[in-house]
């Protein structure tokens, strides 16, 4: 009876997730190509290529840099916004709704549209910067300059995902009992002490949850890279972009699968940290409820 309720979902997830994981490992020892046809075992040849060719390591570094910068800035900005939005003011609901919109939109679609905003010649960003007296004679080429491309993708990602951090930080701030602040006031605690001893520590569990969620998501970064530079640009090639390039542009399924396996080790390690953390939070909540 009970397996009747949960069985179909588990079967589908195993078929679409566990099976590909193992099949990936099989393919990674082969010279399979996208066009299909026969393939042969090539042993650890693919892994040899990955560890010899610097572009594979570079993609891991690019992804790491992207994740670190994006998540850090989103966390700081989101938390600052949540703090600023603590008091009520007229029109707060409308402001909040507008701020939350970007995270619900499609990254691929918005990525294409941002090409219009960031274009070096006719983009509104450079025109606004120009009107403010900045960068007038030396228009930054956000989309084509090797130094700026990754930065542009970061700008879009931060635009899309800062509201996510803000939303979770606001929930954290709301959950802090008011009497703690009243007690601090009676004790004449300074603003900074209150922040450091009450606000920050009590928000921390939710902020960590938000950081983990964003990290696992940012690690998959593909849509914006495709929209801004395409998959084969050394300046912005993330793990997913390189996987796409190997499998669908160079048709090397075997090689791509080997790289996918390396990627998956990183992803699964992070996912484990993440699920453990949620488990601990939920157990703690359960104890409080009981």
């Amino acid at each position: 009876m009970k397996w009747g309720f949960v069985g179909p979902v588990l079967a589908l997830l195993i078929l679409f997730n566990i099976f590909p994981l193992f099949y990936n490992i099989v393919l990674s020892f082969s010279n399979a190509e996208l066009s299909g046809g026969g393939w042969q075992w090539v042993g650890t040849h693919n892994y040899g290529v990955i560890f010899a060719d610097p572009k594979y390591g570079a993609a891991i570094r690019t992804t790491g840099l992207f994740v670190a910068v994006a998540v850090t800035l989103e966390l700081i900005l989101g938390f600052v916004l949540a703090l600023a939005l603590r008091d009520n003011f007229p029109g707060k609901t409308v402001v909040l709704t507008v701020l939350l919109v970007p995270m619900m939109l499609s990254p691929a679609v918005m990525g294409l549209y941002w090409n219009l905003v960031l274009n070096g010649h006719y983009g509104i960003l450079n025109q606004i910067l120009g009107a403010c007296g900045l960068a007038l004679d030396n228009q930054p080429q956000w989309l084509t300059s090797n130094r700026l491309k990754l930065f542009s993708i970061l700008i879009i990602d931060i635009w899309m995902w800062t509201p996510f951090m803000m939303l979770i930080a606001m929930a954290g701030l709301n959950s802090i009992p008011r009497h703690l602040y009243e007690a601090a006031e009676i004790d004449r605690a300074g603003r900074w002490t209150v922040f450091r001893r009450i606000t920050l520590p009590l928000c921390a569990p939710l902020l960590i949850l938000a950081v983990l969620l964003r990290t696992t998501d940012a690690l998959k970064q593909f849509d914006l890279v495709m929209a801004i530079t395409g998959p084969d640009d050394a300046a912005t090639q993330t793990l997913s972009a390189l996987l796409y390039q190997s499998i669908f542009r160079n048709f090397k399924v075997g090689l791509g699968s080997a790289y996918a396996c390396v990627t998956l080790v990183i992803v699964i390690a992070l996912a484990t940290v993440f699920t453990r953390y949620i488990d601990s939070i939920q157990r703690r909540q359960g104890r409080i409820d009981a």
Binding site: K2, W3, G4, F5, V6, V9, L10, F16, N17, P20, L21, Y23, N24, L27, G36, L81, A84, L85, T97, V98, M104, L105, S106, P107, A108, V109, L112, Y113, W114, L116, V117, Y122, I128, W159, T162, L167, I168, A171, N174, L206, L213, T216, L219, K220, F222, D223, M226, A227, L239, S240, I247, V253, G256, A260, I268, A271, F274, I278, D279, I281
Partner: protein, 286 residues
């Protein structure tokens, strides 16, 4: 301090809303007015010189969405229909399967229950591009690439983690006493599920459906790699325009994006109270 807060909010609001506002403005322009060094941001009825900030308002972009686009016999609306059909079918499937599964985990002692739940959650973290090669090989066996069914299946599975976790949160909130009373009255487990749980959980199911639908509409990685024709969705279509040699028709893009995102924005407003639950897979309840 209060002033500082207002400034922070005002500045961020202006920066965040600018791209959205500019998109709306762009959708009412002629293409020639979108690629000038001087921005045109004031709507006017007639055309004016290239360096003036006035632009001629036009509905041309919205009208052109209905015209076949460069080298294909398809219009924007073909892709929109694909997106909506695939999104709706997969959403219904995900929510139904997810509700059954969540009920099972909520009410029965399932061996390894927590481990299974975390397995379900962790499927969400797999990057599409890291599992696409085996999925594509599998799909080819069954002739599923370039079909609506292929994407519906994949999105259904992709959204199961979200629907199971969200629905588990909602079903956990329904008191067990209701269905226990029904079971004592001689209802079968299945009848109690349909007559007691489903009506109680219907709001949760609607909220879950909204999040599944948005995820399915926005998905790009799978849609792009499994499709080159027939079941092409809006994100894949737009992303493909980037390589357009004649330049990108910005007003049409803006108009198309607006038609695509307005429903998403409406849904966001509708589920605003549950947004936190939705984006954290139900792990944070407010």
């Amino acid at each position: 301090m209060k002033a500082l807060r207002s400034v922070v909010i005002a500045v961020y609001f202006a920066v965040a809303a600018m791209p959205l506002a500019w998109m709306a403005v762009t959708s009412f322009k002629h293409t020639r007015d979108t690629i000038l060094a001087q921005p045109k941001y004031i709507p006017a009825l007639s055309q004016s010189a290239p360096h003036s900030p006035l632009f001629q308002v036009s509905l041309e972009a919205y009208r052109k969405l209905n015209a076949p686009y460069a080298g294909t016999d398809r219009t924007y609306f073909n892709y929109l229909v694909n997106s909506v059909v695939i999104g709706l079918l997969s959403t219904v499937a995900s929510v139904v399967l997810g509700t059954f599964c969540a009920y099972g985990f909520s009410r029965f002692r399932i061996p390894g229950g927590r481990d299974w739940l975390f397995f379900i959650l962790s499927t969400r973290f797999l990057p599409p591009l890291a599992v696409i090669a085996p999925v594509l090989t599998m799909y080819r066996q069954f002739d599923l690439p370039n079909t609506h069914l292929g994407l519906v299946l994949l999105y259904t599975v992709f959204n199961l983690s979200l629907s199971v976790w969200l629905m588990k949160g909602f079903i956990d909130d329904i008191p067990r006493a209701y269905e226990e009373a029904a079971l004592v009255d001689g209802y079968s487990r299945l009848r109690a599920f349909f007559l007691i749980i489903i009506p109680q959980a219907s709001r949760g199911m609607a909220v879950t459906a909204v999040f599944c639908l948005i995820a399915a509409l926005n998905e790009y990685g799978f849609a792009m790699t499994l499709n080159s024709y027939r079941a092409v969705t809006v994100p894949v279509y737009f992303a493909g325009l980037q390589k357009n040699i004649d330049g990108i028709p910005w007003p049409q893009v803006a108009a198309g994006v607006i038609l695509f995102v307005v429903p998403v924005i409406v849904f966001t407003v509708l589920v605003r109270r549950h947004l936190l639950r939705g984006v954290t897979f139900g792990t944070v309840k407010q």
